[in-house]
Amino acid sequence: MTMTDNTPLLEIQNLTRRYPSPDGGEPLTVFENANFDINRGEFVCIIGHSGCGKSTILNVLAGLDTATSGVVSMEGREIGGPGLERGVVFQNYSLLPWMSALKNVMFGVKARYPDWTRKQVRDHSYKHLEMVGLGQGSEKRKPSQLSGGMRQRVSIARAFAIQPKLLLLDEPFGALDALTRGTIQDELIRVWSGSDQTVFMITHDVDEAILLADRILLMSNGPFATVAESVVIDIPRPRRRADIIHDSAYYPIRNHLVDFLTTRSRELSQAENRKNTRNQKPLTVHPGLTGSDEAHTTQPEPPADNNPPSLTMLTGTQP
């Protein structure tokens, strides 16, 4: 949230992914010309239907995958491969099953701080396990002896323990039941607010995104998906799950998101509505602020009159 430095941490320019067609015809374009920035300390969620390529975008940011074209740069340097300044939490936990929970965290810490003594590594790892509510013996268990929620906690502890500049979360709660998900969301938000961690997270859950994010990027449907909108969540922090639904901004934001996902994400990717987003940042909208739509729709570059008329009905309806 705090932006001491005005240059964004991460800049994504015209990111495009195409798959060559097997019979040599037109290649399949999953997404094209995705442009967005992530600022330091910001918590950004990305939402879109399956097949829009959001996982690919995250993997490109992680350096595990490559795009067909476009540039991803972090602090001005292009990302060319995986690195310790970017931590990743995968949906399927990705813990090494032959190691205990503590050893899994230590594995990351040792890689990040090779000069540390074993005790330093151990203490640092244990501290981060405690931050997500593990410890008192459960750190000695192997992943197979932990519940799904506990495994994901270990995974989050490992990611935070290496103190990356950017934390990438690929639907981290997707495989968890609703109750566990709620608890771990709370833990994530607690750990995050105690740090200046920048987070980029994929989710399918609108309420989760509103609870966690400073900003939500909305992707239209694939093929020919793109990052269509950047929705600012104008709800003050600290946010609590129980209180947040009473905030006057909550339902306008939620309706806006749901409206996008149910209707407009599909319309936007139909051939006749598709617009060229090359070098264009997504439209920034503030559905949580009351008042006229135009007043809170900011589009730094290019000027607003570049937007097709269909995009003027952007803000959500009141409940």
Binding site: L64, G81, P82, G87, S94, P97, W98, F107, A111, S144
Partner: protein, 275 residues
């Protein structure tokens, strides 16, 4: 609970005892030497010559042999312990040499599709060759029967280890490799701290299959090269027409093979993990 735990072992013992009882009962009684005519004695009790000895005779023989396992009365009379030791020495030497070659090459094949495609035709042709088919060539080239036996063990134990290592390494979950990549682990560190433990159960399975095959093959190899070892012992006792010793040594081969397998099963369960 206790009853169900002991049920299977109890039935095993009962089955063994009844089979031995049937075997014993089917064996005709041996005429004592006093009852035989001089001619019968000269012919070694001719009509019953080819009889299979009863289990009681084998138990007596086993007791004799096992109470003094390491005596050495010259090339044709060595204790069972010495013969087993010779066989184990050959098996373990050939097996370790095979492991030294198979594990690194298997790793390479598993990690590099190019290496896999290059070496696959060779493996596919060499693998189905019966290890004993190499024997004449080995004897001619190595010119030493001892080393040739070890070579035969080497060549038969290499394939399961090689193939299983390659398979295990190639099938390490992509997620775990990604964990190594996102933590900037170098190739060697990734191989040792992620791929090796991940593939260890599969590799150990291959090693366990290999030791089993090596123990099968050593008996046949020693029958060919002669001199020492449990395989030679079996064949030597057959030439002596001492079927009691033959059956006793067959049992010993089985028990040692079982112990070798149990040893590897232990190591295997130590590296096993649950996803």
């Amino acid at each position: 609970m206790i009853a169900s735990r002991y049920k299977a072992p109890l039935l095993s013992v009962l089955l063994l005892l009844s089979l031995l009882g049937i075997w014993e009962a089917l064996t005709p009684a041996v005429k004592s030497a006093e009852d035989m005519t001089e001619y019968e004695l000269l012919m070694g009790g001719a009509s019953e010559e080819a009889r299979v000895p009863p289990p009681s005779a084998i138990i007596v023989k086993a007791f004799e042999e096992l109470s003094n396992p390491v005596y050495d009365n010259g090339p044709n009379d060595k204790g069972i312990g010495i013969q087993i030791a010779y066989s184990l020495y050959r098996v373990l030497t050939g097996y370790l040499l095979a492991a030294l070659l198979a594990l690194p090459i298997g790793f390479l094949i598993g990690m590099s599709p190019l290496a896999y495609k290059t070496l696959d035709p060779f493996i596919q042709v060499l693998r189905p060759i019966s290890p004993l088919a190499w024997m004449p060539l080995a004897l001619f080239i190595i010119q030493d029967s001892e080393a040739s036996a070890i070579f035969v063990i080497f060549i038969c134990s290499i394939w399961p280890m090689l193939i299983n290592t390659a398979f295990g390494v190639a099938n390490v979950r992509k997620d775990w490799i990604n964990v190594a990549r996102t933590h900037e682990l170098g190739n060697l560190r990734t191989a040792l701290s992620v791929i090796l433990p991940a593939a260890a159960p599969t590799i150990l399975t291959g090693m366990r299959i290999s030791i089993g095959i090596a123990w099968l093959v050593i008996v046949a190899a020693e029958m060919l090269v002669g001199g020492t070892g449990i395989g030679y012992y079996v064949w030597n006792e057959w030439n002596n027409l001492d079927l009691t010793s033959v059956i006793f040594s067959i049992l010993v081969i089985g028990v040692v093979g079982m112990l070798l397998d149990a040893l590897f099963a232990r190591v295997q369960s130590a590296v096993q993990y649950q996803e």
